[in-house]
Amino acid sequence: MKINSISWQRVNNALHRDLGYLCCALIILYAISGVAVNHVADWNPNYSTQAEQVSVGVLEGLDLDAIESHIVSSLGLDPRQVKGRHLPSPGKFVLFLPEGGEVRVAVKTGLGTWMRVKRRSLLFESNVLHLNHLKGVWTYIADIFSLALIVLAVTGLFILKGPKGITGRGKWLAGAGTLLPLGFIVYYYLVRG
């Protein structure tokens, strides 16, 4: 059977175009999330925190309920926001607030830190998807997305013919793109040991 090269070219280009449209949003989302979680050692990609030094007055001699009430009134908190309390070590008192926030004070001095925690909008959701925290159905959607990326990459190689195509300068660029990760692997695992 003779394969019609023009129709194959059309199918290839159409596949690349439509998959590109389809995957565009997720590619951008995953790329942004990728940068964010790549630097997890330097920052928190999911939450922003704001720490404020506070002074609520001396709490020594008060019982736990009184300490809690005192902190709540001193900082103007809504008592319904308080989710719990904890004594991590002698002389330390922690009050838990919504979304991971907390007030942590020294009972003796009343000095401490009020930590407010806020989700990073969009980034949090992007990371949830990118790192597949959802599991379940999303695992299969992500698998299909990965396959689509492979198809995008392969069809991308054959979009153009001639000197700018894969037989022309395309082969050098594709080769360079392959050598970059390959070079790192060879250096880190074979040269350095």
């Binding site: 439509d18 928190n44 004594l87 991971g100 959701e125 949830v128």
Partner: protein, 171 residues
Amino acid sequence: MGVVMMLVLSVSLLGSVEAAENAPATKQAQRVSAPKGVKYGKGIGSGKTVKISELFARMDAYEGKLVRVEGLVVAVCPKRGCWLRIGSDKQFQELQFKVQDGQIVFPMSAQGKYVVAEGIMRKVRLSLEQTISYLKEEAEERGELFDESKVKEPLVFPKLEGIGAVIRENK
């Protein structure tokens, strides 16, 4: 066609994020014997319920065993959500519940909630040098000052290798 598919994808994306918060709780509620709340990992299985103070007191007896503990979530790994600290029934005790990175991810909003957690008990024995480094890192995470000259003895403490957990608002 691409635009339509993208819309479908966006809707499923938003739906999935919502589902992450709600779906596990619904599933968990359907089981009669399982604790109510949002399920993480494998949830709760057949582990024997043990008080956290008991784990601290009898580390050798429980080492390597599957146990279930309960308590207030007093801290969450802020960056990867890969561990929880559970407040003990005894003052000034916290049990670390460590899960494999990426397998289970606890949100920071879990802090202050109530957890029922199950895992394998491990007795952690640190050298003096490791103890200093461990306590220093903890103090830095909490923004507290740390004086390493006060650390005189190496730490030995229990830790749970987490298998699953159920987190809910209250006890």
